[in-house]
């Protein structure tokens, strides 16, 4: 019985551990704290292992692990919600008014992109991370977050606009100046 269990655990590890980096960086971007991200990922793996007998072989293990991770993240966020609310955009709805946010200059650094991502409200950030970083389809994103497909589409669109607006601000602070989105021309740094 021990050897059977060991084989089963080894099967689980062989299949699930390769997604550790993907899960960790997603948790890090959502929790915005390395040690919380580590806890979230560890708890997710434990939960996945406990439920592994329910996993259907042949289906998408990566998506299943992300569903479990987001369950943990949402639980974590409910504990954090009051603190987080004060930190984020109070005017997220403004994103709807940005018909064409400024084009992001090429000179923007990777660090700036990650900082801008961190400033997105969590409901937009999680969709952007899944769709644009993890390259999940709309359907997979909807399943992982347990939200309708239409909500994924609208949050992704708004999230990307907010991200571009934030990066345009960064560009302005560098004196790069966002390029005109019609001509593609901008100021040199």
């Amino acid at each position: 019985m021990f050897s059977h269990s060991k084989t089963r655990l080894e099967d689980f590890e062989a299949a699930a551990i390769p997604y550790l980096a993907d899960l960790y960086r997603t948790a890090k971007f959502l929790a915005r704290d390395s040690s919380e991200a580590e806890d979230l990922v560890q708890e997710s793996y434990l939960e996945a292992w406990k439920s592994f007998h329910r996993f259907q072989p042949g289906t998408n293990l990566r998506a299943w692990l992300f569903t479990i991770l987001f369950h943990r993240i949402h639980h974590f966020r409910r504990r954090q919600v009051k603190a987080v609310r004060m930190e984020h955009f109070e005017n997220a709805a403004d994103a709807d008014n940005l018909m064409a946010p400024p084009i992001v200059p090429e000179e923007i650094r990777d660090e700036d992109i990650l900082l801008a991502l961190e400033k997105l409200p969590p409901e937009f950030r999680e969709v952007v991370v899944l769709a644009d970083v993890q390259e999940f389809s709309y359907k997979e994103t909807a399943e992982a977050l347990v939200i309708p497909l239409g909500t994924v589409m609208s949050r992704l669109s708004r999230g990307r606009k907010l991200l571009r607006r934030e990066l345009a601000e960064v560009a302005r602070s560098y004196g790069i100046g966002p390029r005109d989105s019609k001509t593609g021309e901008g100021n040199a740094r």
């Binding site: 655990l9 990922v41 560890q42 406990k50 644009d132 991200l163």
Partner: protein, 302 residues
């Protein structure tokens, strides 16, 4: 805020579809329409280029974020401790668990329990030794927190809390053929634990001597657990590193390197007795385990 005057309704429609286009979620027919428009519209293709660039930049930046080296091992250890897969197929039927547990006790008897205790004790040893490995990997290997040329002894002493100064000559003496490059107090990201860390180079490898407070933890005793039950030194191979560890009254000590298990054990065996003498001379050891030592005070001040 930029407000654009679109040249045509076609531009407006294309831009509404760009998000789905970037995500490769459009139907084939719609994709063809968008592509046709992009071929003839500089503004929209420039807009698309910007969106693709941002998406690629976001992914590139995000992929640079890597999990800490110890995380994979920590997860594997927790999974082994959890053991939920043992009777996973019987979940939900509590009485089956009870019967199975009773049968296991009867059938397995004392031998089974002893095997289980040994398994748990080995797990505890690995968990403790991992403290030293994590600090070596995080600070010395990945962090490269040591100079290429060894610091002078005065400089090394200045970097240590006063109570740990006595450790430096011990480390130097019991690491023959090694050059002590660095000494400092450090911590692993995400953990409040502090470490006194000596980094040395010799025999073609980097080696760490790591000391940290036990904080209530103990290396379990037993001939089957310790690699050297006389010197009370334990060893393991974790995260591709060889580690040997020992404990004093209040501290754990670790020797970590890629030199091979036997060599690392040999170094720890010679280092452990004099290191224990220095460590147990500290105020923490004489004042009892609940007292915070100067080492702890100095470390927590960093």
């Amino acid at each position: 805020m930029n407000v654009l005057n679109f040249d045509s309704k076609l531009c407006e429609r294309t831009r509404r579809q760009l998000d789905a286009y970037v995500s490769n979620e459009l139907l084939v027919e719609t994709t063809a329409e968008v592509v046709r428009h992009l071929e003839n519209c500089g503004a929209c293709s420039s807009e698309l280029e910007s969106r693709l660039r941002l998406r690629a930049g976001l992914r590139r930046a995000a992929l640079r974020e890597m999990p800490p080296a110890h995380l994979s091992q920590s997860i594997r250890q927790r999974l082994r401790r959890a053991q939920p897969g043992l009777l996973a197929g019987f979940r939900g039927a509590t009485w089956v668990w009870a019967v199975a547990a009773t049968l296991a006790v009867i059938v397995g008897g004392a031998a089974g329990q002893q095997a289980l205790r040994l398994h748990h004790a080995r797990q505890t040893v690995a968990d403790i030794l991992l403290l030293g490995v994590a600090d070596h990997l995080d600070c010395a290997v990945r962090g490269h927190n040591y100079p290429d040329l060894a610091r002078s002894q005065d400089e090394l002493l200045r970097r240590l809390p006063p109570d740990c100064a006595g450790l430096l000559p011990v480390v130097e003496e019991y690491l023959p053929g090694f050059q002590v490059l660095e000494a400092h107090v450090c911590s692993v990201t995400g953990s409040p634990r502090k470490y006194v860390h000596f980094i040395a180079r010799g025999e073609g490898a980097l080696l760490s001597v790591v000391l940290t407070r036990r904080d209530g933890m103990s290396l379990p005793q037993g001939r089957l657990l310790a690699a050297d039950s006389v010197a009370d030194v334990y060893r393991a191979h974790l995260n591709n590193m060889d580690v040997a560890g020992f404990q004093s009254r209040d501290y754990f000590g670790f020797v970590v390197s890629g030199l091979g298990q036997d060599r690392v054990l040999q170094i720890a065996q010679s280092l452990a007795p004099p290191a224990r003498v220095v460590l147990d001379r500290s105020p923490a050891a004489t004042n009892g385990p609940r007292e915070v030592s100067k080492l702890g005070e100095a470390a927590s001040a960093l």
